[in-house]
């Protein structure tokens, strides 16, 4: 009884203009996720096929894109080096930045907004961290330096969020201004100290080393296997027990076979990744084990998945993205949720660009903050997040990030110049947005015709 709509918000509601037309049952069926109605695996496959035919393709395009990238680049890459363990780990490292930035952008996209500033806001935070750990100057311990960098990014995001929600400015313009301001501040921070604009992570300080290791450090192969086993068994048990409990108490749950397939897929992915990473990838000597960046990306993925899908806050983010008026009448504080989302977006971008600083072994004015925003949007959309709000998951950012990373890596192996990389990435983004728009138009017209 506590939460009820606010008075002023209920006034002036435009009447729904839905005309009375007849139903299109096959379209209606297609929009119901197959796992909800399937009692057996066969039914699931049939429901899934119906859904794809109706344009609700889910993660299928991103899987197809991944396969295409793997096949094409493996064929054309010199000595077929694309699928070598060394290159794949390299690909993971490059993709990690896109993945985290795409998860950041996800917060804005699910709300139906956009944040163009994340590249340079994240870079501003990362530059702050890199400057603070320098032994010649401030020499902060790494936890404090990372916290300070993320704080700078988060505050920047919260200020943008406040302007967008309280002054009702369009997020496109506010974050475009934020992009320029953060770019300037970033360059200013780089110039601090005696590093001539290139504070790097070389040197013997433990703090420098730790930040370098975010991307380049590896976990011992044996420990990698054990950790992967623990994670798979843990997640598998959680999924199995929860599905089982729901099935027993008569709630909506997928059939047992499907649950097992899901867990099996997770296990296969884990084994493949650890196998790749545990192969010796050094030209001379030994370099093996899962890079730190993989668990870092996983932690971000799991944390944001729980936040968005298992908490009230996440539910409100989706509700606002789907129908702000409904959210308002449900008593949700729209400004607060939106502002916090922009803060979370910038916070996550701070993590992403810190990984980038680690990958580059320092920070310099060469950081392409603007380009990275577009890659982040592209990765999120390719992964299945809608540009029109209300739909998307952190996992989409990870999948899309892998696609963008694959293109980036493959083009690099081909030694194609940047102009081609831009063109191909642009085409992939266009393709992803087209799929998003077309599938949305399909479902939108569907829900109007069906009354």
């Amino acid at each position: 009884m506590a939460d009820v709509p606010k008075a002023a918000d209920l006034a002036g509601i435009p009447p729904e203009q839905a005309p009375d037309l007849t139903a299109a049952p096959e379209a209606a069926q297609a929009e119901v996720p197959p796992e909800l109605v399937a009692q057996s695996l066969g039914e699931y496959v049939r429901a899934y096929a119906a859904r794809i035919r109706a344009g609700e393709s889910g993660v299928l395009p991103v899987i197809a894109a991944m396969l295409a990238i793997v096949v094409v680049f493996e064929v054309v890459s010199p000595n077929h080096v694309f699928l070598s363990a060394g290159n794949l780990v390299n690909l993971f490292q490059q993709s990690a930045v896109f993945m985290v930035l795409a998860m950041a952008e996800g917060f804005a996209l699910i709300l139906g907004e956009i944040d163009l500033s994340i590249g340079f806001v994240g870079a501003l935070g990362a530059a702050t961290t890199v400057q603070l750990v320098q032994p010649q100057t401030t020499n902060w311990p790494w936890p404090a330096a990372i916290a300070a960098g993320l704080l700078v990014a988060t505050v920047f995001g919260l200020i943008q969020g406040t302007l967008i929600t309280r002054l009702r400015l369009p997020s496109f313009i506010v974050t475009l201004a934020g992009y320029l301001i953060a770019n300037g501040l970033f360059l200013q921070v780089l110039l601090l100290g005696p590093f001539s604009g290139f504070p790097n992570l070389l040197g013997f300080s433990d703090n420098l080393k730790l930040i370098y290791n975010l991307m380049w450090g590896s976990i011992d192969p044996t420990i990698s296997w054990i950790a992967a086993g623990v994670v798979v068994v843990g997640i598998g048990l959680l999924i199995f027990l929860s599905d089982n409990r729901r099935r027993r108490s008569g709630l909506v749950a997928p059939p047992t076979s499907l649950t097992l397939i899901k867990i099996g897929l997770i296990a296969v992915v884990a084994v493949v990744v650890v196998l790749i990473c545990n192969t010796n990838r050094a030209n001379a000597g030994t370099l093996e084990g899962v890079p730190w960046m993989i668990p870092i990306v996983l932690v971000v993925l799991v944390a944001w998945t729980i936040l968005l899908q298992r908490t009230r806050y996440g539910r409100y983010v989706y509700a606002i993205g789907g129908n702000p008026e409904a959210a308002r009448r449900a008593g949700i504080n729209l400004s607060l949720v939106r502002t916090a989302a922009f803060g979370l977006c910038s916070f996550t971008a701070g993590i992403g660009m810190l990984l980038y600083a680690s990958l580059l072994n320092g920070m310099s004015s060469n950081v392409q903050g603007g380009q990275y925003v577009l890659y982040a949007v592209a990765a999120a959309v390719i992964g299945g997040t809608s540009l029109f709000g209300g739909r998307g998951k952190p996992l989409h950012g990870v999948l899309g990030g892998l696609v963008i990373g694959g293109i980036y890596n493959g083009m690099f192996l081909e030694q194609l110049s940047f102009q081609w990389e831009y063109i191909v990435t642009g085409l992939v983004l266009l393709g992803a947005v087209t799929i998003d728009a077309v599938s949305r138009r399909g479902s939108a017209s569907g829900s109007v015709t069906r009354v």
């Binding site: 009447p15 989706y318 509700a319």
Partner: protein
């Protein structure tokens, strides 16, 4: 609660009684000395032409507008409904014409939007799904394929049902529905009208705003007609026919005597 139930025993007081309600916006008198009774276990249809004041009256009851003068009695007790929170606390829920459902969320998520149940800080989906299922089953809304399907995949009648279920889940005593059948086809309309009857059979007071006289006569126990900011007539539905309702709606009175069968007078 005990005071309230004691009060209800007192007489067959209507659940909500409005007396001499006035509301003006600047120089425009939107409501003028409105009297209206909404008894429990009955469907009251509120008819009137555009601009007659139906929406303003609804919003005064829902607490979105505050009346300038007049008294409101809830179960015989005088109350002041100052905002939407007050009306919800009394047990008044309004289903607006646009339903306010989020298309991308499923039925359970929509029904609990803004009032999610938690266990250890996380959403208690099992608990919410069970409660939503019970509520829908209680209203005999059985046509949905899965309670977990997104609202985007529901038909108009099903959406209306979800919106109504959302309203009655909070132990509401009075449900106000604004044009619930306006956008629906024949089958869907019947489904919604049946739902309204079930709410009545459960002992709720229901107020339906409608232009559609077929629906009004199908479902209403009582009819109130507004004309230019006044409730010109309210009585049992059986005392009206189409002709008389239309006449009240368009002229505010009856031109010829005997057009209405007045019972017991």
């Amino acid at each position: 609660m005990s005071a309230a139930s004691a009060e209800r025993v007192a007489s067959n007081e209507p659940l909500l009684k409005i007396r001499e309600l006035d509301k003006h916006f600047g120089p425009v008198q939107a409501l003028y000395h409105v009297d209206l009774d909404l008894p429990s276990g009955q469907v009251t249809a509120l008819c009137g032409d555009n601009g007659a004041g139906k929406t303003v009256l609804t919003k005064c009851i829902a607490g979105i507008y505050q009346a300038d003068h007049g008294q409101v009695f809830w179960q015989g007790q005088p109350v002041h409904i100052r905002n939407a929170r007050d009306s919800a606390r009394l047990g008044i829920e309004t289903v607006y014409q646009d339903l306010a459902l989020a298309d991308n969320l499923d039925i359970v998520q929509n029904m609990f939007l803004g009032r999610e149940r938690l266990s250890t800080g996380l959403l208690d989906e099992d608990n919410m799904e069970r409660a939503a299922k019970e509520t829908l089953a209680g209203l005999r809304v059985t046509t949905v394929r899965s309670i977990r399907q997104p609202v985007a995949s529901l038909s108009g009648g099903q959406r209306q049902s979800v919106a109504v279920a959302k309203a009655v889940m909070w132990n509401s005593k009075l449900v106000i529905m604004d044009e619930p059948t306006a956008a629906l086809g024949v089958v869907q309309t019947k489904m919604v009208l049946d739902l309204i009857k079930r709410l009545r059979d459960r002992g709720l007071a229901v107020m339906v705003i409608s232009h559609n006289l077929n629906d009004v006569f199908e479902v209403a126990d009582r009819i109130a007609v507004m004309y230019l900011g006044r409730v010109v007539v309210q009585d049992k539905a059986s005392t009206f026919d189409r002709q008389s309702v239309v006449e009240y709606m368009t002229t505010g009175g009856l031109s010829r005597s005997g057009g209405r069968r007045t019972e017991g007078s």
